[in-house]
Amino acid sequence: MSTTNTEEGSLTKKDFVTENDVRWCPGCGDYAILNAVQRTLPELGVPKEKFVVVSGIGCSSRFPYYMNTYGFHTIHGRAPTVATGVKSANPDLSVWMVTGDGDGLSIGGNHLMHLLRRNLDINVLLFNNRIYGLTKGQYSPTSEVGKKTKSTPVGSLDYPINPLLFALGSEATFIARTSDTDQKHMVETFKAAQAHKGTSFIEIFQNCVIFNNNAFDTVTGRAVRSEQALMLEEGKPLRFGENKGIRLNGFDPEIVELKDGDDESDLLVHHSKTNNPAYASILAQMAYPAFPTPFGILRQIEGRETYEDALHSQIKASQSKGEGNLQELLTGKNSWVVE
C-alpha cells in the first residue's frame, strides 16, 4: 500500500484507472476526456497520491469515481468551494476540478467566479455539452436560444452564457478551450493548465450522444474542422483554413482571404499573455458561423499571487514573530487573581 511514485516518468495511464465500471453512455464524449486526463497526469511529475479530483453533480461529475486518485464527488454546483477548502488546507496537492455547463454555470456560477478571482492553483475542466445530461435533457445555460428540449418544448428563451467571456469577466488568469474530439490538444492544454500557477479554466466541448448529439460537429467535425475552427498558437498570426486569417477592423475582427504571396502582417497575432482583456474578449466572442471558433489558450496572466500562497504567507509572516501560546491567549491581558 505504501508505494510512493515520486519519480518522474514512473507513472503510467494505468495507474490512474480505477476498477469501477465506467458508466457513461456508450459514445459519450466524457470517455475521451477521461482518457486524456489519465494520459496527462503521469507526465506531470507529480506523485499520484498528491492528486485530488473534485466534482459537483452531473454526468461529467462522475469523473472522480473513474480516477484512481483521491477524489470527491460533492453536490451540485459546489465543487469550487470544496476544491478551495482542499487547496487552502494543503497547497501541496494538485487539485483538479470537474464540472458541467449546468453544474458550473447554472447553479454553481458564483462559486466558479469566486474561485477564478481568488486564483487558487486549481485546474478547472468544464465539460460543456450545452445540455443537462444526468437529468435527461433539459436545456442548459450554454444552450443556444430557441433550443427545443424537454423543458422547453417550444424553444428556450435565455441568452446563453459564453463560458470564456464569463471567465474573462471574473478576471481568470488562465482561460482555454479544447474539445473531446482532439486527444492531443486536450493533453497539451491540460499540461499548460498544470504549468500555470493560478486557477486554470478550460472549457471542453463535449458531445452528449443521447440528448444533444453532434452539437459541436460544425466546428469539430473532421471535414469542417480546419475551416471552422481556429487553432490558437502563441506568437503566431490567427490563421485557419487553407489561406484565411483574422484581422481587426476597429475593435471588430474580420476574416481575410490571403492570396498567394500576401503576407500575414495584417493579421492579428496571438498573444495570450496580455493583461488587458480586450484581445481575449474578441477571441472569446468569435464563434461559428460568423467566425471560426477558437481553440487553445486565450489568456494566461502570470504574477498574480494565488490565494493559498497568500494565506499561508500571512500565517508564516505572523508566526515568524513567534508562534501563538495557548496559555497566553486564554489568560489574556486583563486577568486577575483570586487567592
Binding site: M1, S2, T3, T4, N5, T18, N20, K48, E49, K50, F51, V52, V54, I57, Y65, N68, T69, Y70, G71, F72, H73, T74, I75, R78, T81, V82, A83, T84, G85, V86, S88, A89, N90, D92, L93, N110, H111, H114, L311, Q314, I315, A317, S318, Q319, K321, G322, E323, G324, L326, Q327, L329, L330, T331, G332, N334, S335, W336, V337, V338, E339
Partner: protein
C-alpha cells in the same frame, strides 16, 4: 431589590443599566464598570443590547444602545431581571428603558440633553423630568453631565466637542462612587488604549472619570452608597470572557488537543461575525481563515479542508444555517468531521437580527432531507462556550462526523468572569488518520464508536473516492436496498453511541420531586436562579440543563420519571419540549417566550409557582 437608605449599605448584588445614544459610548462604560466589578472580586453577568441600525439618527429611540450588568457577592447567573439603577444619557434612552426600572429605583439622567429637540426626537410631548409624579416615583439624580464634564476639562487641550464626548466616563465615575467600584482598572484601560498615541485623550478621560467620582463624594444630597463583599469563588486566575471569545478559544484549544490544523471558513452575519473576526486575528496560531462568498461556500470550504485533514469549523446564524443544510447532508453521508456553529438570533427569516432566541433547535435536528441525524450540543453561558466548543471538537473527531454547536446572541455577546484553565491540563483528543501501511477501507468502522477512519490526500496508497451517493463499506457507490438500510442505521447508531460518553446529568436539587425544570442553552442562568430561589423557599423543584440535545443523555429518561411534572422553558414556541415528549412520552409542559429577550428570573418563578399550586 435593594431599598434606598443612607450611605454604605451592604448589599449582595445589584443590577445597573447604562443607556444612551449609540454614539455615547455606553458599551464602553458598561464594560469598564464590569471590569471594575470583576477586579473588586464580585461575580458578574452582562447583557449588551445594540440597536439594529449601524448608526441610527442621533437622539432617536432607534439609536439607543444599552448595557446591563449584575454583580454580586454570591454566584451571579444572569444580568438581572430589572435594573436597580438606570443611567439615561438622553430622553430617548429614558423613554425606551424607563418601563424596566421599578418604582424607587435609582435614575441618573443627563439633564443637559433634555432639550426640546431631543425630547421631540424621543417622542416626548413634554419633559418627563418636569412631571411631579414621575419625579416621586424614582430616586432621581439629575446631573448636567455635559456641562460638568466640560468644566472638569477646562484645562484640557481638547476641542469642546471632544471634551463633551468624555461625559460617559464622568457618568461612570459617578456610578463607581455609588457602588464603591475601584477606578484603577479604568485608568489602566485609558493608559493602554490612548496613553501613548493620544495622551491628551487619556488625560481628559481620567479627569472626567475622577471628577464624576468626586462629584458623588461631595454631592450635597447625601446619596446612598453601596458596598458588596467579594464573591466566594475558587482561587485562581480569572478573566472576563464573552461567549464568542470563549468559542474562539475553545476551537484553538480543541485543535491543539487533537493535534490538527484549524481551518475556519465563514461569511459575516450577526451575531456570529466575531468568530470569524476573532480567529482571523490568531494567525500566529497557524489558523487559516477564509471569508467565503456565502454560507454555502463556507461549508464547502470546510468540507474540503476536512477531507484534506484539517479540523474545520464554520459559524453562522439562522439564515446561514438554512443555506448550509444541503452541504451538512453531504458531510453526514461522507462522515467528515466539521464543526458547525449556529449563534442563534430571532427568526424566522431575517426576523430580529439583533435579538436573541433559541428557535433553531428543531432546524438543527431536522433541516436535512433524508434520515440524517447529527450530534447537537448547546452552550449555556459565555464561559461554557469554551467547554462546549472543545466538546464539539471531541465529538467531531472521535466520531468522524459533522456536529452542530448552538449558542445564541445572548450567550455570545454576554460576558462573565472565567477561571482560566491550565492549557496543559486540557484532555487530549485522540483522532488518528489511516495508516498508509494498512489496507484502507473507507467505511470500515471502529467497533466502539462506529466511526470510520479518514485517509488524507497526500498519503501514498490510500487513494479513494468519497461522495454524496450511498456507499457500501468499501467506498463503492451502492444502491442495494439492504446496503442503504444498513448504512442509514449505522449512521444513526453512530450518533446514538455518543451518549455512551456523556457524563451523568447533573441535577440541581433533589433527585425526585414535584417539578422538574429542563432547559438548554442560554436560559441556564435564569432557570437555575429561579429554581434555586424556590428550593430555598421550600418547594419541591429541581432543574437540569442539557448540553447534549442529540443524542440526549442516557439517564434522562430515568430522571424524568422521578418527577410528577416536567416543565421546559424555552425562548421559542416549544422545541425541546417537542423532542422530550416524542422520546419519553412525558407530558413536558412548554414554557415559551418569543420576544427576542431572555427570560427574567421572576417570570420563571411565577410560572413555576403556578405549576406547583
Amino acid at each position: 431589590m435593594t431599598q434606598a437608605t443612607d450611605s454604605f449599605e451592604e448589599i449582595e448584588s445589584a443590577v445597573v443599566r447604562f443607556a444612551g445614544d449609540s454614539g455615547d459610548g455606553m458599551q464602553t462604560i458598561g464594560e469598564r464598570f464590569t471590569d471594575s466589578s470583576a477586579f473588586a472580586g464580585n461575580d458578574i453577568a452582562t447583557l449588551p443590547d445594540f440597536p439594529a441600525e449601524i448608526r441610527a439618527p442621533a437622539g432617536t429611540i432607534a439609536g439607543v444602545s444599552g448595557y446591563q450588568l449584575q454583580f454580586g457577592s454570591h454566584s451571579i447567573l444572569t444580568p438581572g431581571d430589572e435594573p436597580d439603577a438606570l443611567v439615561a444619557m438622553n430622553p430617548a434612552a429614558l423613554k425606551s428603558n424607563i418601563s424596566d426600572l421599578p418604582e424607587g429605583g435609582m435614575l441618573v439622567v443627563n439633564v443637559d440633553s433634555f432639550k426640546k429637540m431631543n425630547l421631540k426626537k424621543a417622542g416626548y410631548e413634554s419633559n418627563p423630568l418636569e412631571d411631579e409624579e414621575f419625579r416621586k416615583k424614582y430616586q432621581l439624580i439629575e446631573l448636567d453631565l455635559t456641562t460638568l464634564t466640560k468644566e472638569a476639562l477646562s484645562e484640557s487641550p481638547l476641542k469642546p466637542s471632544d471634551k463633551a464626548r468624555c461625559k460617559n466616563f464622568f457618568a461612570l465615575g459617578f456610578m463607581c462612587y455609588v457602588y464603591g467600584r475601584p477606578l484603577d482598572p479604568t485608568l489602566k484601560f485609558f493608559d493602554q488604549k490612548w496613553g501613548k498615541r493620544l495622551p491628551e485623550v487619556a488625560d481628559a478621560n481620567s479627569t472626567a472619570l475622577k471628577a464624576g467620582h468626586n462629584l458623588g463624594d461631595t454631592m450635597e444630597t447625601a446619596r446612598n452608597r453601596y458596598q458588596l463583599a467579594k464573591a466566594v469563588v475558587n482561587p485562581g486566575v480569572y478573566r472576563k470572557i464573552s461567549g464568542n471569545e470563549a468559542l474562539v478559544y475553545g476551537l484553538v484549544a480543541g485543535a491543539q488537543s487533537a493535534n490538527r490544523e484549524l481551518l475556519y471558513s465563514g461569511y459575516p452575519i450577526t451575531p456570529a461575525s466575531p468568530v470569524l473576526e476573532g480567529l482571523s486575528a490568531l494567525k500566529k496560531f497557524g489558523i487559516k481563515t477564509v471569508q467565503a462568498e456565502d454560507e454555502i461556500a463556507a461549508m464547502g470550504v470546510a468540507i474540503g479542508a476536512s477531507f484534506a485533514g484539517d479540523l474545520s469549523v464554520v459559524a453562522t446564524s439562522g439564515p446561514g444555517m438554512c443555506l448550509k443544510s444541503e452541504f451538512i447532508g453531504l458531510a453526514s453521508i461522507t462522515e467528515l468531521p466539521v464543526i458547525i456553529c449556529n449563534v442563534q438570533r430571532g427568526g424566522p427569516s431575517t426576523g430580529l437580527p439583533t435579538k436573541t432566541e433559541q428557535s433553531d433547535l428543531l432546524q438543527s435536528l431536522f433541516s436535512r432531507h433524508g434520515d440524517c441525524p447529527l450530534p447537537v450540543i448547546a452552550a449555556h453561558s459565555p464561559s461554557d462556550c469554551f467547554e462546549c466548543s472543545i466538546e464539539a471538537c471531541r465529538i467531531a473527531l472521535t466520531y468522524c462526523t459533522p456536529v452542530i454547536y448552538l449558542s445564541d446572541l445572548y450567550v455570545a455577546n454576554g460576558a462573565e468572569p472565567w477561571l482560566v484553565p491550565n492549557a496543559a491540563d486540557l484532555p487530549a483528543i485522540e483522532a488518528k488518520f489511516a495508516d498508509p501501511d494498512e489496507e484502507y477501507i473507507s467505511y470500515k468502522r471502529n467497533p466502539d464508536t462506529l466511526a470510520r477512519t479518514q485517509a488524507i490526500p497526500g498519503q501514498p496508497g490510500l487513494e479513494h473516492r468519497i461522495g454524496g451517493l450511498e456507499k457500501s463499506e468499501d467506498g463503492g457507490v451502492n444502491y442495494d436496498p439492504e446496503n442503504h438500510e444498513q448504512m442509514t442505521h449505522l449512521r444513526a447508531e453512530k450518533v446514538e453511541r455518543i451518549a455512551d460518553t456523556i457524563p451523568p446529568t447533573q441535577l440541581h436539587g433533589e433527585a425526585e420531586g414535584d417539578l422538574l425544570v429542563i432547559g438548554w442553552g442560554g436560559t441556564y442562568g435564569a432557570i437555575t436562579s429561579a429554581a434555586q430561589a424556590m428550593q430555598a423557599e421550600g418547594f419541591s423543584i429541581s432543574s437540569l440543563h442539557l448540553r447534549h440535545l442529540n443524542p440526549l443523555p442516557k439517564d434522562l429518561g430515568e430522571i424524568i420519571k422521578r418527577f410528577k411534572k416536567v416543565i421546559v422553558p424555552e425562548l421559542n414556541l416549544g422545541q425541546l419540549s417537542l423532542v422530550l415528549r416524542a422520546k419519553y412520552l412525558v407530558d413536558a409542559i412548554p414554557l415559551t417566550k418569543v420576544q427576542g429577550k431572555p427570560f427574567k428570573v421572576s417570570e420563571l418563578r411565577d410560572s413555576f409557582h403556578k405549576e406547583l399550586s
